[in-house]
Amino acid sequence: MSTRLPTGGRLTDRTYRVGFTFNGKRLNGFAGDTLASALLANDQVLMGRSFKHHRPRGPVASGAEEPNALVNLGEGNRFEPNQRATTTELFDGLTATSQNHWPSLEMDIGAINTHLARVLPAGFYYKMFMYPRAFWKHVYEPFIRHSAGLGKAPDAGARDADRYEHFYHYTDVLVVGGGVAGLMAAKAAGQTGAKVLLLEQTAHWGGRAPVDGGLIDGQTPETWVTSVLNELHAMPNVTLRNRTMGAGVYDHGYALGYERLTDHAPDLDGPRHRLWRIRAAQIVTATGAIERPISFAGNDIPGVMLASAVRDYLVNWGVSIGDRTVVVTNNDDAYRTAIALKKAGLDVPAIIDARNYGGGALMAEAQGLGIRVEQGRGIAKVLGGKRVTGVAICNQQGEGAILDEIACDAVAMSGGWSPVVHLWSHCGGKLDWDEAGAFFRPRAEAGPTGADGKPFVSVAGAADGHMALASLLKDAAQTGTVAGNNAGFSGQTSAPDATDVPEKPLEPVWLMPQGARYDLRMKAWLDYQNDVKVSDVQLAAREGYESVEHTKRYTTLGMATDQGKLSNINGLATLSNALGEAIPEVGTTTFRPPYTPISMGVIAGEARGPLFQPIRQTPIHAWHENHDVHWEPVGQWRRPYCYPRGEEDHAQAVIREVKAVRQSLGLLDASTLGKIIVKGPDAGRFLDMLYTNMMSTLKPGKCRYGLMCSENGFLIDDGVVARLDEDTFLCHTTTGGADHIHAHMEEWLQTEWWDWQVYTANVTEQYAQIAVVGPNARKLLEKLGGMNVSKEALPFMTWVDGTLGGFPVRIFRISFSGELSYEIATPAGHGRALWDLLYAKGAEWNITPYGTEALHVLRAEKGFIMIGDETDGTVIPQDLGLDWAISKKKDDYLGKRAQARSHMTDPSRWKLVGLMTEDGSVLPEGAYAVAGGTNANDQRNTQGRVTSTYFSPTLGRGIAMGLVLNGPDRMDEVIEFTHVEGFTVPARIVDPVFYDPEGEKQNV
């Protein structure tokens, strides 16, 4: 059984007991434990179930590479699935549950899959779920959905209870990894005078060295780490952050750090996670190395663990995985585990060393402690189900004939070490295969380059393939110094002396025994989480998969949440052996950030809830809010949709508002409309290029409706242009268009006609604009007094400046409703007061504020188009019958040439018409008009679609506009429109102007 030893555990504080629950069971650990070490201390080796076969699984590692020990953490608004027990620091009150099983962790029905393994090979999903086709909807899809995903998603109603933030940081040198190499590199870089940021993903500095031992400057690594830390803390140019993972490296020295501030202490104030957005001149990755498992049958049974992990649990947390641990290895390092276990008083029945030549000094030391060493041997299979009960050993060179069985309750395996090259590779750093170490290491001269064309990433220590302490520290000191120098600082730091135990070379072992029979290979796991075995990768190779990227996706090797950190190299080697190619020929899959998963919350940072997007408010916003407004988002603005009164629903409110405008007097907050000043001697010429119609001939004091197209010919915006004086125009744009139309103007001015003397300014927010609309509009303005607003003094499509009711205003006689209408602009600061005055004085005509929906209905009744309804980026003005607004006299305007292309002049383009249902009902939005026959995809042919559709209170029936094939030539014809319920709705093609076609109402 796994248990806490009476002494030991350099990271735990035994004076402070921490209570937590696992699957509802109350357990205790110590301060400094991880969830994994605390569970192991309580003999809870079984922590989860694998994804595909539901195999019982315990932790195999002690850090970020852990594929098995994933748990649900927290409850309610703090619930999170797939949290690694090995990187979860224990705190008082932690609640964890295991996942991917039913009904319980110990008894899981899904484990039947493990007995079906023969029929669940690589590519099972592709092979199985093809036929019969009809099974998809009712059999396959529900089955896949049910079994998809590890863990469970948080409740739909849950909202993340924590805060997150982004943090911007600029530095000369970023060092990722706070092991001895990272500390050394940071010190060396810091001593050049460069500004240095050092990140460490765990809570502790020094990495593996304090566990692995050795001597640095005659001190233990632990003592050396403490003294270097003191030095670094004393350097004002060095910043240290633990619990912060270097998540990714991107172009031009950009890097992301993921700081976990309160995961280990939820009671602390402040944000939970912080995303460091770092820009560094130089980046040093000192990310260490990760031990590889060995592929033998049963290497996934709980109790089989990396040799380094067994050592970590023993030394760091005082936890033994078993009383009797068999060590299996192809290198000298694993002997350290055997020696540490033995010295802790635990039994090591045997060390199985796959090498015929055995190990070096460490082997001698182990043998001196009385440990049996079996050279040239391997594990044929691990015995046991939910826990290890023993191992059967065989010759490594054979096929698995059992020589001996050894009873044990834990297996510590080591297949060698792989440098963590992720950050080096994120931005394009190249790798070389190192034959001696059997790993990929960074190719120093082929690193990612920055804006200046020079490399900005370098690698220090074990991440660079330096596994021995002395060479690792020398490399780190050199790398840190060079990084400081490359960042523009001078100085030199020498490495401390270190002594290593000499080691014998590793022998690559990609399968144990090397000729293992099929029944053994199909129990030899590569990817633990996704249940990919040696036999699966070999099958993929036999089926013709040669590319490692294809094999990855076919077998799902390395696609689990650990992204192949643990054993991707084992998989690549298996594939290359099966293909008969060298490992470097097969290559690696692509390394992509983040290094380990980071929370969605930290990506969002502060940008959530009301801060997700700033809301733009008009000067009259507060009034709307106080009058039962129902808001509609329009771009970043909030505009009133309608103002329901009493028991009214929205539809009833809209009907009342439309009727009020048509019959008496309405009031609209039009402040959001875009207002762009275009000024200069060439302003008229410029606007002639931007608008389809002629603007240069507009007289000061007059207004003209204009259309704007892209160079592709498509209609992008419309609005009324007022000429303020000879050199100055005021262009109104749609609410959503103000910013991009201003950008559109600037783009053409700056990049095409930069010699034209024109200046533009977006003054949208400088003015409040209020539309006073309806037959009584003039009476209200006359009541306010101060200006002559008569038909003669201010005719339709003119504007005038003046003082209205004491306010400085510019009044435009323009109408988007077909009624007598004045749009009154006033400096934004006066907007609310003018609105209040108009509202108060308008009471005698029952003045009615109306919202965007009434505005839409009013314009649709008049057949006015709306950008975004009648247009969708594929519609040209000619489609909308707006030829009258396209100048025939102008040589050129943006879009003119495009509108002459054959597709644009095709007479079969759908054109705008009005539509009235035969029964008076409202056509569904976006409905298509059906035509006879079907197309190549067996879909019904279409001949048009609805672009706007409303209930018209004025006409008392549904009205619509739509684009219809040859529409204008088919007046009075009845065509059928689709309805989602499956039937069709007949509608008659009519003129799009439903109300006051002569324009008598607006021109009074």
Partner: protein
């Protein structure tokens, strides 16, 4: 994430401050152009692996358009210059030649 020096502000601007505007030095074709030349102006773009000239706008800065000469493969930036020109400044062409002998881009080399 790129950084580009805005030639107007003289600041090293983050990509988040910038708006990408596609290929630089296009010649506008108007109403008199043939179908082929207009189509080419509207749609045909270089897609080089290597030296490229692009338009960028310092949209969250000064609002000005500028051009950047950049290597699409290594992200090396050879220089930036104001957009009010029909061809890249000689100094930038020289800088590219020094670093990428034998380079070509459209009619430039």
């Amino acid at each position: 994430m790129l950084t580009l020096k805005c030639p107007y502000c003289d600041v090293q601007a983050e990509e988040t401050e910038l708006h990408a505007g596609g290929e630089a030095h296009l010649t506008r074709h108007g109403p008199d152009s043939s179908d082929d030349s207009f189509e080419s102006y509207l749609f045909t773009r270089e897609n080089p692996k290597g030296v490229h000239f692009e338009r960028w706008r310092h949209s969250h800065g000064c609002g000005k358009w500028f051009h950047a000469a950049r290597c699409t493969m290594t992200m090396e930036v050879f220089g930036t210059y104001p957009a009010q020109t029909t061809k890249p400044p000689q100094a930038i062409l020289d800088a590219i030649t020094a670093k990428r002998p034998g380079w070509t881009w459209r009619e430039l080399s």
